[in-house]
């Protein structure tokens, strides 16, 4: 028994200083592409390189729809002019016209996680929030198995037909006020799986979404940021532009 204690102490403190201080360790995020200037004669080839139509052109400026990025790296690897890439992780975004979060969400919140067709990676990253590196409990975030106790519904996956009914039932079973956090490119846009006879193109097709966290998968720090945004403890990410209208 004592050996467990000794080894526990030997492991030391691993927990990140985030959100008090930025996390600088290597390997915590895959990053996302950023827009900006790009050589005009390469713009079209860049746009056609992307399988999920992340990029669009606006007077010589590249506009990036970060929600669509699936980290295939085809715009940076093996190309003549790689697009700019940013190793950030504060990606939680609130769309215009959403609810004010306010007082009920300021303190400890309970989170119900629903897998609506996820590939396993986003879910694994949510699971990592409980490991000592991130330890979400210290911030008052708790995972609850039952929707009845939940304040926030965290959804991963593009929402398959078979899960649509279950997802709605979970949402309806949650007491108000409640918020929905959609995590990962699939939950935001359907990712590589949309749109098909068995798959919606994201959670928004089924439920009102309050906070969006891009990434494929969204790394743990980004999910943490999304939850902090949902509780009003962090500002939402600055968007490059609102590309919503460009593709939809």
């Amino acid at each position: 028994m004592s050996q467990w204690v000794i080894n526990g102490i030997r492991a030391g403190i691993k927990t990140t200083a985030y959100p008090a201080k930025p996390e600088t360790a290597a390997g915590v995020t895959p990053g996302l592409p950023v827009g900006g200037d790009y050589p005009a004669n390469n713009v079209n080839s860049l746009i056609s390189l992307c399988p999920t139509r992340v990029f669009s052109d606006s007077d010589g400026q590249i506009i990036v729809d970060r929600r669509r990025c699936i980290h295939c790296y085809r715009c940076v690897r093996g190309v003549e002019r790689p697009v700019n890439w940013e190793q950030s992780y504060e990606w939680g975004t609130v769309r215009d016209g959403q609810h004010e979060f306010g007082q009920p969400f300021e303190r400890s919140i309970h989170i119900c996680v629903v897998d609506a067709g996820d590939c396993g990676a986003c879910l694994n990253e949510v699971k990592q929030l409980n490991n000592p590196y991130y330890n979400m409990h210290r911030l008052g975030f708790f995972i609850t198995p039952t929707p009845r106790h939940a304040d926030v519904l965290l959804v991963v996956g593009p929402v398959t037909d078979h899960m649509k009914f279950a997802l709605k039932k979970v949402y309806d079973a949650m007491p108000a006020p409640k918020r929905v956090v959609a995590v990962g490119a699939c939950a935001l846009t359907g990712g590589v799986f949309a749109e098909s006879f068995v798959c919606a193109k994201g959670v928004r097709d089924v439920l009102p979404v309050d906070v969006e966290v891009p990434g494929n998968p969204a790394p743990p720090l980004a999910i943490l940021h999304g939850l902090l945004v949902a509780t009003g403890r962090k500002a939402p990410a600055m968007k490059d532009a609102d590309p919503t209208n460009l593709h939809e």
């Binding site: 467990w4 390997g27 990053g31 980290h71 295939c72 996820d118 590939c119 694994n124 198995p145 798959c199």
Partner: protein
């Protein structure tokens, strides 16, 4: 059994009914009359020591082609048994009576193609849930339009799933699809009369994204994205299997550096996946400190992967014909050094777990899968090896240069939860051993050979962290994918999962679930 022996046996037993259609060093295609199919498959599987890789159904212009893929050790190579019939003919003999491993394959084909298998004990309500889908939808048929939204039937309040136990006092405990904290969506019907689980029927495919259908008529480059992303905790392994299938079709000769780097990354993924599996076992037994230690190991390996490749789950590295980008030697050396440190931590954790009686009590002699059953069910990977079925594709049918590497394939006999845990630790050690050899063998050179796409079909296989993964790809003249069939290891292992929970108590259920190391996303694809 080697090839000449096999051909002699076949000529003797089924003269005129089974013919060798084509042959290469590793693959023998046997065209088989329908009447001879069950017995031929039975001999291969039960007598001649071939493993069942999968059933691949293809709808041609005028006829069905059913391909039963088997593989043996080394020289025995691959044997594909082919049965054809005109499209109007939709009944085939079932091989399930002899090859139980084919059970779910036939159910899947029945559900998605509308083919009937004569003699199969239970067809229907599998991928397309009966309570949601209309009758007679056959989504894998060529004429089915995958972009059109389906009109489902209204949820039927009175619909009840199939029940097996009819004893007085027996009841069904439904679990899922949303259950527990952070879990994948799957539904279990646990039938019980009280304390013990008598029958357990997993109801899967809540996450069915119809990857095989979505891949059709896409370019191989686009399908690679799907192959990597349908089960992303083992993304690299599945991406690799797909790439190898396409490269076989195109007769590509890969640069050595690409092969070695692929092995290095595949083993890094295995190490990380096993650390994650160990963490889940510790979590399920509520051993908080061990859970934290294993969680640290998994996160560190995720960070090592990200630092080396830019992505925590190794996305965006594979390309048809090699790798999308090169990885510097010194970065690989650094990743190896860090991985070795993580392995030291894992070894220390194992040493402690082996003397923690409260932990062992939950695993030992619980969830036993005997060797014979594991073999009959065609279980794969660490689960099978823990039950004494020690077959590993890296050894049995090596790919990507595994034949030149020194490593052991650990095996255990007990087949209980503890044996499965020990296998995970032992394989983690072997993975680091392989990474060491790969890093030492790196030589400068290119990492990608341009690929000339051409029409054809081939099977790609890898030993994924959860077991053998088989990807069948057919390309048409334009280089687009005409048929993509994925047989992931979790498909076989979910089939056998009920073995580990039946006759054991309810409280063992989550622990057995974690020791089986299953992925729903991989199965549901």
């Amino acid at each position: 059994m080697n090839r000449p022996e096999l051909k002699e046996q076949i000529a003797q037993r089924w003269p005129g009914q089974v013919q060798c259609r084509s042959e290469s060093a590793s693959l023998c295609e046997l065209a088989c009359a329908r009447a001879a199919l069950p017995e031929l498959c039975a001999r291969l599987f039960l007598e001649w020591n071939f493993s069942f890789a999968g059933l691949i159904v293809e709808e041609g212009a005028s006829e069905w082609q059913l391909r039963y893929a088997f593989y043996g050790e080394g020289d025995a190579g691959w044997v594909h048994v082919l049965v054809t019939a005109p499209l109007a003919e939709k009944t085939f003999p079932s091989i399930v009576k002899f090859v139980h491993a084919a059970d779910w394959h036939e159910r899947e084909a029945e559900d998605l193609f509308g083919i009937h298998f004569e003699g199969h004990p239970r067809l229907g309500d599998f991928i397309l849930h009966d309570d949601a889908w209309q009758e007679n939808v056959e989504p894998m048929r060529r004429h089915f339009d995958a972009r059109e939204a389906m009109r489902h039937r209204k949820p039927d309040e009175d619909w009840r799933p199939h029940r097996i136990v009819q004893e007085p006092g027996a009841f069904v405990m439904p679990v899922g699809p949303k259950f527990s904290g952070v879990t994948e969506s799957v539904h279990f019907l646990l039938e019980t009369v009280g304390e013990d689980v008598i029958r357990s029927t997993p109801r899967l495919f809540y996450k069915w994204r119809a990857i095989e259908k979505m891949a059709e008529d896409k370019t191989a480059d686009e399908v690679l994205l799907l192959a990597e992303r349908f089960a992303a905790t083992t993304a690299f392994a599945h991406g690799l299997a797909f790439c190898q299938a396409v490269e076989t079709i195109c007769g590509a000769n890969l640069p050595l550096r690409a092969k070695i780097l692929r092995v290095f990354l595949a083993e890094l993924e295995r190490l990380r996946q096993h650390a994650g599996a160990i963490q889940e076992i510790c979590e399920s037994t509520a051993l908080a400190v061990a859970n934290a230690h294993a969680g640290i190991c998994e996160e560190e390996l995720l960070r090592i992967s990200c630092e080396l490749t830019g992505h925590r789950y190794l996305f965006g590295l594979l390309a048809l014909g090699g790798l999308l980008c090169d990885l510097p030697d010194d970065a690989c050396a650094k990743a190896l050094e860090k991985s070795q440190k993580v392995l030291t931590q894992l070894n220390r954790l194992e040493k402690q777990l082996r003397v923690s009686s409260s932990f062992l009590d939950r695993l030992e002699e619980v969830g036993i899968v005997p060797e014979r059953t594991a073999m009959v069910y065609g279980l794969l990977g660490p689960i099978a090896r823990a039950s004494g079925v020690v077959r590993d594709l890296r050894r049995a049918q090596p790919y990507s240069g595994y034949e030149n590497l020194q490593f052991d394939v650990p095996g255990e006999q007990e087949g209980d939860g503890y044996a499965r845990l020990r296998i995970l630790f032992a394989e983690a050690r072997q993975s680091v051993r392989i990474m060491e050899q790969a890093a030492a063998a790196l030589q400068s050179g290119s990492v990608r050979e341009p690929l000339q796409l051409r029409a054809g079909a081939a099977l790609g296989w890898v030993e994924a962290p959860r077991g053998g993964a088989f990807h069948w790809v057919r390309l048409d003249e334009k280089g687009k994918v005409a048929r993509y069939r994925i047989v992931p290891p979790s498909f076989a292992n979910w089939h056998g999962f009920h073995l580990s929970v039946e006759k054991f108590a309810f409280q063992d259920f989550p622990i057995m679930l974690s020791t089986f190391n299953l992925s729903v996303a991989e199965n549901d694809r």
